[in-house]
């Protein structure tokens, strides 16, 4: 417990834009201009030059309003969106000798295998993370099946185990998702995400839209999982309360740029950037 925490993810100059871009884009876009879209060429700069590091066992919060670029950033790390510039250096925590790999340069096969094996993602809306036509068990089984698990008995045992870990009744393994409540569906997503024993968990606004009491329980679960598995997490939220509960460090995004980053407590106590100050003051 006293060894230095190893780096898991190191993001360097990560950028994504939609449109051709022009020489004047930088002049007219960014947090000072309160806009991500260049009025000259129409290009949307969804994420500009993002840099941060994530250590093993750490929870990094990403705060921003809608349009800030936080979901784009998350989806680039999820290898679902290809960045235009930058690197996503990954260090395999299970293997100290392993070299850092730039996830952004992997081919489609490798990306898919990596995403299935080493990443887990949970979405705000269950229909994004789950297939509503399959049973709950089928949904949780998907990553296992993709990883070539071929014994139904073993698969079901693992599913039940995961359901117990996420406080879901294991006897409901064959039920359809539409018979589950919103909070329970978030747990199903978490169970699915954990099924491959990932090294990084991505959480995109997972409690937004849930009742406060349900939210609290899901947050408790996430905290417990983080503790039990020493899970490295990237937590996107617009809710400072959620960030405060789970994230040790936070980055704040506005109009595609990271405007502030540091220890969550410090940022909330003593925000430096005017936008962060605005967020913090309006949260109360």
């Amino acid at each position: 417990m006293t060894h230095l925490a190893t780096k898991v993810l190191h993001v360097e100059h990560l950028s994504k834009q939609y449109g051709p871009g022009c020489a004047r884009c930088a002049e007219y876009t960014g947090p000072h201009h309160h806009s991500s879209q260049c009025p000259i060429c129409g290009t949307v700069h969804a994420c500009v030059d993002a840099n941060f590091t994530l250590h093993q066992g750490e929870v990094l919060g990403i705060v921003g309003e809608s349009g800030s670029g936080k979901s784009t950033l998350l989806q680039m790390i999820n290898l679902a969106i290809a960045p235009d510039h930058g690197h996503i250096w990954y260090h395999e925590p299970r293997d100290d000798a392993a070299q850092a790999v730039d996830l952004a340069t992997m081919n489609a096969f490798a990306k898919r295998t990596f995403r299935n094996d080493r990443l887990g993602i949970v979405y705000q809306r269950p229909e994004l993370g789950l297939n509503m036509r399959f049973t709950v068990g089928g949904n949780v089984a998907e990553k296992l099946l993709l990883a070539n698990w071929r014994h139904v008995g073993n698969i079901r045992e693992r599913i039940r185990d995961l359901m117990q870990q996420t406080e879901l009744p294991p006897e409901r393994i064959d039920d359809e998702p539409h018979t589950f409540s919103g909070g329970m569906l978030q747990r199903v997503q978490i169970a699915k995400a954990l099924s491959s024993s990932p090294s990084l968990l991505l959480l995109d606004e997972v409690t937004s839209g849930l009742d406060l009491s349900v939210q609290a329980r899901v947050l408790d679960l996430i905290r417990r999982i983080q503790w039990e598995h020493r899970m490295t997490m990237l937590l996107v939220s617009h809710d400072l309360g959620v960030i405060k509960q789970l994230a040790r460090r936070t980055i704040v995004m506005k109009n595609g740029h990271i405007v502030e980053s540091g220890l969550t407590d410090q940022i909330l106590e003593d925000p430096q950037h005017p936008y962060t100050q605005l967020l913090v003051s309006s949260a109360l």
């Binding site: 449109g19 051709p20 060429c41 129409g42």
Partner: protein
């Protein structure tokens, strides 16, 4: 010997052919001549041509006769025949500006340069059955001919007699009302769906070709759904023209443009209300939809134009309103060919007893599984009851 196999397949087929013939001829009525069909059933002939994708009025008349009026069957015959023809050469790119219009209307403006010409339209017929047609005689036809000869003699000095009109969309383009074709959709050569299999996403020329030979009813249904709300609900007809289009080719020796004849066609252009926004060019413009058929097929041409417009907009994500199946290019184009659709739907008449046997086996196993599950459930309950007692 208990077992009797189904034999005599060849005889059955030959007898079937004879029976079909008999049904057509048993009434003993006067045989239909191809000229009669071409002249007096021109919409059936036109439909066989445009769904058969071959411009050949007399062959289409033959197909209509052979198919006993079944429009899908008639277009099937034409399509199969087209397959046997070798291709001589492509035409030059034709423009409907050269069309000799018999009919030309626009719903976009009250008046248009050249004027609105109603032409031979059934639109304003009051749909009452005309019993005079029951006793129509050759003499009646003679009188109609004589009357028209007089009208023609009177009208031949009219400058509009030739029926050349400017295009309404050209004026719209001059006024910058219409979005230009995006760069990624411009093609040097049109796609040829008869030589290359259609894959998705497909180019606009591929889409238009596929729509042009699609079943009229199918296109109508999809277009109707899109204007009722599941798509681009507000198309405006820029122009509808029906008439004779000259066909030009490059002379094989001299390379000069040569007109080899005329074809009877219908063309429709619509503009949509949803404003499409180009990438660099931020001015909003209307989106153009294009429809075209051989023969006089207004419903099909309009439906095609609406669908072309809906699909273009859907691809650009600029569709207003709820999008439905009509906006899904793959969904429409894979299901709109009448010959394919009817062939596969009808193929269920073919024997399927091998797969059915396989299905029965699976059903048995499923039933056994359910029974086993039920039994184990009851056994568990019984055990619980015993333990409680």
């Amino acid at each position: 010997m208990g077992y009797i196999a189904a034999r005599g397949g060849t005889n059955a087929i030959l007898n079937a052919e004879q029976l079909v013939d008999y049904l057509r001829l048993k009434g003993g009525s006067t045989p239909l001549s191809l000229v009669q069909i071409r002249d007096q059933l021109r919409h059936a002939v036109g439909r066989a041509m445009n769904e058969g994708a071959l411009y050949a009025p007399m062959l289409a008349a033959l197909a209509v006769k052979q198919a006993e009026g079944d429009s899908i069957e008639a277009s099937f015959l034409i399509r199969a025949f087209r397959s046997t023809l070798s291709r001589i050469m492509p035409t030059r790119a034709l423009s409907s500006r050269q069309m000799r219009c018999l009919r030309r209307i626009s719903a976009s403006f009250k008046d248009i340069p050249g004027g609105q010409m109603l032409g031979p339209s059934q639109d304003y017929h009051i749909r009452l059955l005309n019993t005079l047609l029951i006793t129509e005689s050759t003499a009646d036809i003679g009188r109609v001919h004589a009357h028209y000869q007089e009208l023609i003699a009177q009208g031949s000095n009219d400058p509009h007699a030739i029926g050349h009109f400017p295009k309404v969309v050209d004026y719209m383009r001059d006024e910058e009302m219409i979005a230009p074709l995006p760069v990624d959709q411009q093609e040097a050569e049109p796609f040829d769906i008869t030589r290359t299999a259609l894959t998705f996403p497909c180019s606009r020329s591929a889409r238009l070709q596929a729509l042009a030979q699609s079943d009229t009813g199918c296109l109508l249904t999809y277009a109707y759904s899109s204007v009722r709300g599941y798509g681009d609900a507000h198309p405006t007809l820029a122009e509808l023209r029906y008439g004779m289009l000259p066909v030009e080719v490059n002379h094989p020796l001299t390379g000069e443009a040569v007109t080899i004849g005329e074809i009877e066609v219908t063309e429709c252009e619509t503009v949509s209300k949803a404003h499409s926004v180009g990438t660099h060019d931020t001015k909003p413009r209307f989106n153009l939809g294009y429809g075209f058929t051989f023969g006089h097929g207004e419903v099909k041409a309009i439906s095609m134009a609406i669908l072309d417009s809906v699909m273009s907009q859907a691809k650009r994500n600029s569709l207003g309103g709820e999008s439905g199946p009509a906006a899904n290019e793959e969904f429409v184009l894979l299901h709109s060919d009448g010959i394919e659709a009817s062939g596969f739907t009808a193929h269920y008449k073919l024997p399927h007893y091998v797969t059915f046997e396989a299905d029965l086996k699976v059903l048995e196993r499923s039933k056994q599984h359910k029974t086993t599950q039920e039994q184990s459930r009851l056994a568990t309950i019984a055990t619980h009851l015993k333990e409680q007692a």
